[in-house]
Homo-oligomer: 310 residues x 2
Amino acid sequence: MGDHHVVEAHEAFRALLVADGILQRTSVDGLYLRSATYEQVIRGVEALAHRIGVSAEETYEPLLYLPPLLPRSAFERTDYLRSFPDLVGSVDVFRGEDHDHTELLMLADEGRDWTTKLEPAEVVLGSAACHSLYEGMQGQSVGSQGRRLEAVGFCFRHEPSVDPARQQSFRQHEFVYVGTPEGALEHRDLWAERALNAMLSLGLPVERVVANDPFFGRAGRILTANQRDTELKYEIVCPITSTEHPTAIVSSNLHLDHFGTPFNITTTNGERAHTGCVGFGLERIALALLHVHGTNPTTWPDDVQAQLQQ
Amino acid sequence: MGDHHVVEAHEAFRALLVADGILQRTSVDGLYLRSATYEQVIRGVEALAHRIGVSAEETYEPLLYLPPLLPRSAFERTDYLRSFPDLVGSVDVFRGEDHDHTELLMLADEGRDWTTKLEPAEVVLGSAACHSLYEGMQGQSVGSQGRRLEAVGFCFRHEPSVDPARQQSFRQHEFVYVGTPEGALEHRDLWAERALNAMLSLGLPVERVVANDPFFGRAGRILTANQRDTELKYEIVCPITSTEHPTAIVSSNLHLDHFGTPFNITTTNGERAHTGCVGFGLERIALALLHVHGTNPTTWPDDVQAQLQQ
């Protein structure tokens, strides 16, 4: 019964967004065409997040805009396949000759699976913005000061849903630290605070909670419990379509040496680098704003509009 | 020898863009992380294209921002697989249980092809912006006036290259007409002229040429000849790394009923709709600007900067 109400609330919010021209549905759940109004909100949130980084005491490397794809070799090092196989998007391409093409088209014409004629591409869909950043540091030392990076781009997660806040293709704006364990912890805590304040400044009824990733399967249950026990993940949640199940709009994560080890990134003393990141979920923040303040951003409170100035 | 010089020119321009912080290379050719400077140029070109549409005599439906993915069912109707199988990016996902996951990880750990445990997703990577628009009109009549749409988003084409102007993941800004054959022809010609003027106003040494798509294989040679004979495709080309092989930065296409028929889109008299589109290649226009005016946009001619105002 509870779940039924949640689905109804998702569908009602989606219908509102469609009726007001914010999103246009496609034949696939979780995949939308977006209006210029929506896109301007996204860019406003992006500008806000960037300003927070610029005004921080510590200095971030220049903002990077990411493509929606990740090198397959980098993806395989992230170990994402072990924890979240059900969310992965792998890309296949055709490298055949004329006769292979003829066979492929025969399969397609007969309504059979033509993708059996394809091969894995050099790329996959990116699952998290920070995954694109570790490859460039592979085998390097980041020194005792570590490195601080900022990146924004499209991510993919295969979780078709009627909830407009759970899209298959969505943007993250991340601030990433690579360095010592203490530095990673400090980064996580600093940003959990900054992100909470930023979301409050947008008039969103948010709170910060200990959270866990949706680890897959039997082994995942242990990873989940472990992640919660050690408080490796915080989320800033906001009720969008449900107060009982608020939506995570920012997440802040400690990865320990989960990326430092496979990418062989070290600090000056040869220790494996620890990493941490905060990810602003741009689509979800935009949707939270549209839910709380209405679907016409020109009518939003002046101070909220000011915060979103590009 | 000629080809060798072209590759050297590509590599030299890519090296310049990397040295000046515009692009950051990844381990995959044609896949880049992008600087904020680059992104602002892209957004400037996007704003210029949008203004041209707004000031046109005919009226366009509200601009849509596309996700980098396309519903598989819509993709299969485009017939892209027949003409350009080598450029396609199909997405695979994992829908298995715990034991399938165990097998998948065994394959991955042994360095074997773990993607054999995946299945086709509900989505593929989009190859052209306009492909995302026909699904919404499926089975409908667009009336005698037709419909005029505007959309921008990431496209994928599997053509790894050292040429920074040939990226695997790039953005198109399209203006699309759906209606009568005469309307489609008029749309194509109007926009070929507008786009040429816009590119000239940016100080780019462009010209308009009859062109063809890179149709695949033996059958493709006939399609290519046919497309050129009937002048279905115009391109606006600009020398970026080669005057002998200038780069297409805008393309304007007549599709005849290539989309109208499979998507069953009609005009008032029940005739199959014809379509036409003009696509501004945002990455390529940005790179042409960076090549012609230098990698620091604040030093570009005032009138060019004014044209790119957002």
